[in-house]
Amino acid sequence: MKNLAIELTGIDKHFGAVRANHKVCLQVKQGNIHGIIGENGAGKSTLMSILYGFYQADAGKIDVLGNTYSFTDSHQAIAAGIGMVHQHFMLVENFTVLENVILGSEGGLLLANGLAAARKELTRLGDEYGLKVDLDATIDTLSVGLQQRVEILKALYKGAKILILDEPTGVLTPQEAEELFRIFGALKQQGVTIMLITHKLREIMAITDQVSVMRAGEMVAHRDTKDTNREELAELMVGRKVLLQVDKGPANVRAPLMTVKHLTMADKQGVERLKDVSFELRAGEVLGVAGVSGNGQSELLEALAGIHPISSGSIEMLGVEMNAKSALGPDILRDMGVAHVPEDRHRMGLITDFSASESALLGYHTDPKINSGLWLSKDKVDANCQQLMQAFDVRPADPHLKSANFSGGNQQKLILAREMERNPEILLIGQPTRGVDIGAIEFIHQRIIAMRDAGKAVLLVSVELDEIMSISDRIIVLCDGEVTGRISAESADERTLGMMMANALDSQDSLDPFHSMDKESSTQATSQDLSA
């Protein structure tokens, strides 16, 4: 019988009126991989922040490796043997790996001694756990997968016996994710306990030993992974039966509504973000754009929506051509019937300080239907919002509530309603279900399919491969601003898309050094597995 690494008893936490955690109990066995799943806002992150000393619980007891603690900051949690790898890495970009690892534990006045000692220790850790990283490389030259590895090393260096990882695969290619899971295996062999927070059921099923499900701030179930399945977990998360597969008929594809030819776009620093991108988008189809986040998808959306000027090439939409010389602004494109649901709803999709009715107006504030002469009619503005809220079941249906006070799913539904209810010809849609709970995802997917079936053209950008594969009719893959793959949805599988996303389908010499480095260390990790 294994000892308990972590035992949480009756954890309560409130933020204002929000009950983030309510009487949460959790037991994690030493040396196990323990998954925690739940919808956004279910309280997973709050619970982990309490465990890591960021927040203090209002009530409850925390035991780590048999001792009771009440952490008031994360130093105490680290001292107790807990390490955390955040979703967004906490690394200094222009420091080397070594410098990053010793940050906060430099050891004495002079760096040299600390660095030398750390180098020795890190080499040992790297050998032991199969975590190979070039210690003298600066962070900004490392791939995301390697950066994550540095984060793990950092935690281990500080003596972590228990690793908490928050959505670790969100930014990884499928191959990098597999690599990560192999590292988990090695860590587990060495007796490290891993807590994996995620909303991806597939990962839970693939690598965890136990899984705990949270819903609305409470622990609703604990299962041994081998005794459960995806459907049961999804149902536990949402509290009702969920359709995991999108129900859609065959596409009835018609004439192209958008033709992109040799599109190239440079950002403000002059770095080329899109290189010679060409594709067609036809009426009655959903074209999925896959890729690891940061490979030009955001830029593609911004170029097509007229937000960012392009450098060369052309975009022809609904019979009007845009190129480097003649740009069309978002206002004109909207009038033409090109709607855009942006990737980042807080930064771009709505104005969080505005009321829902004002956010529901963004992009359409000059609409004569809402203006009467000089006057922007408040009644019409509210009525417009009310109507959108009804059509997309936004809750609470209160046009005067501040946009920031809606949950992520409802904010997204409000934006979708704003863009889709005007019946556009082309819908550009980025990360439609990011940070949205499973129930709302189902609804959003149905709406997108409904648009397709009504003969509209939909361009879908998403980092969720499941989403891309289940919604799209055709898929293009972007890597480093180039189209590195075109495939129909039926013939696409995760492996092929992953290879395309890493631009690894071509010959070996097209690989960049980091990927080859990945390969090298992966073989190391495997051999470690075998020998252990």
Binding site: A17, R347, F354, L362, G363, H365, L376, R395, N410
Partner: protein, 372 residues
């Protein structure tokens, strides 16, 4: 009353009131330190500003200036711009008003002069704000730096204009000749006399109505037109504004021109309404005071009127204080203003956590806006 409403009341009313009160308490302490009885001083101050008709006239006269500059700061602020250049824009606005009057035929009627001077003030104020706005929008020069530099430029330019160009012939004082009486904004006491009411003479003139009209227009413009929507959207989240088809560069230009025009109207109250000639330094303090007024008034016209009244009271009451009580110089006005700005501006939210905890406690039953 639900929690959001309570918090709105705390933010909008209770908090400013407590902050002003704290500033007064601090002022009282200062008075005690210089051996002045604070109760007595308060009596003098209140009597000086509200005790008799002339005093009230002065108070509202000063208030008018602060309404103009407060609105000016607020409009820019809603576009996410910090216009520190109210001083310069008010000063140059005066040049516009003065030139409009001096170059028109003196025999024309008031119905030409008054609108012409208002337009002159609006246009020159706007132009003085347009240059920093252009530099911000198209060249990326920070508006705070450029507007503050433009205050100095305005001062130098006005000295030149007053000394070399507009000085009254045969006079040493750097001021223009007297405006024709047709061009004077009517005094309130004269207007009241026309209706048969006799009140004491004061500098208070009909510009105060212009200030109130501007408050209404600014409110209407910002919250009830598509242009106001575009300005506020840009100020809150310019990325989202661009997504919404709004052009932030244009917004910067428009908002700053409106802001400068409003600041320019100070000269209508000061020059067209009271001094009746172009003089030096009529604007001093109002541009910067406007920042505090806008801050205290939460950038809302209604709040600005109230805050402007407070500042007008301090101006007039403080002057009276310096006059009536030995051991107090006029500088005490600056001290009082400073304390008000400190407690209403810098320490704005000092009491907030405490107030919210006690007056709008969290309802643990889960009264919650967001439901998934």
């Amino acid at each position: 009353m639900n929690r959001d409403t309570r918090i709105a009341w705390i933010n909008g009313l209770l908090l400013p009131f407590l902050n002003v009160l704290t500033a007064f308490v601090a002022t009282a302490v200062v008075f005690l330190l210089i051996d002045v009885n604070p109760i007595e001083a308060a009596e003098v101050l209140l009597y000086g500003s509200f005790g008799y008709e002339e005093g009230i006239g002065y108070t509202i006269y000063y208030t008018t200036n602060f309404i103009f500059t407060g609105l000016a700061v607020a409009v820019a602020f809603h576009a996410g711009l910090f216009n520190i250049g109210g001083e310069g824009q008010a000063y140059v606005g005066g040049l516009g008003a003065g030139l409009a009057i001096l170059f028109l035929d003196p025999t024309l009627g008031a119905w030409v002069f008054i609108p012409a001077s208002i337009i002159g003030a609006l246009v020159f104020g706007a132009l003085w704000a347009l240059i920093p706005a252009y530099l911000q929008a198209y060249r990326g020069s920070h508006i705070v730096i450029t507007t503050i530099m433009f205050n100095f430029l305005a001062a130098s330019m006005m000295v030149y204009m007053m000394v070399h160009v507009l000085r009254e012939t045969g006079q040493m004082t750097p001021q223009s000749e007297l405006f024709p009486t047709n061009a004077w904004m009517p005094f309130v006491h004269d207007v009241m006399a026309g209706f048969g009411y006799t009140i004491e003479a004061s500098p208070l003139n009909l510009s105060v109505l212009l200030a109130l009209l501007c408050s209404v227009l600014v409110w209407f413009f910002l919250w009830h037109t598509r242009w106001g929507y575009a300005i506020r959207a840009t100020g809150k989240n310019s990325t989202a504004a661009v997504y919404g088809g709004i052009k932030p560069k244009r917004i910067i230009i428009v908002a700053m021109c409106i802001s400068g025009a409003l600041a320019g109207l100070v000269s209508v109250n000061e020059l067209v309404g009271y001094q009746h000639r172009l003089i030096m330094d009529f604007h001093l303090g109002y541009g910067f005071g406007g920042i505090a007024v806008a801050l205290m008034g939460r950038n809302h016209p209604l709040g600005i009127i109230v805050a402007a009244l407070l500042f007008g009271t301090l101006y007039q009451g403080g002057a009276e204080l310096a006059f009536e009580m030995s051991g107090i110089s006029r500088d005490i006005v600056v001290v009082m203003q400073g304390l008000v700005i400190l407690f209403c501006g810098a320490l704005e939210y000092m009491y907030r956590p405490w107030l919210v905890r006690n007056l709008a406690p969290v309802n643990t039953q889960g009264e919650l806006g967001a439901t998934p």
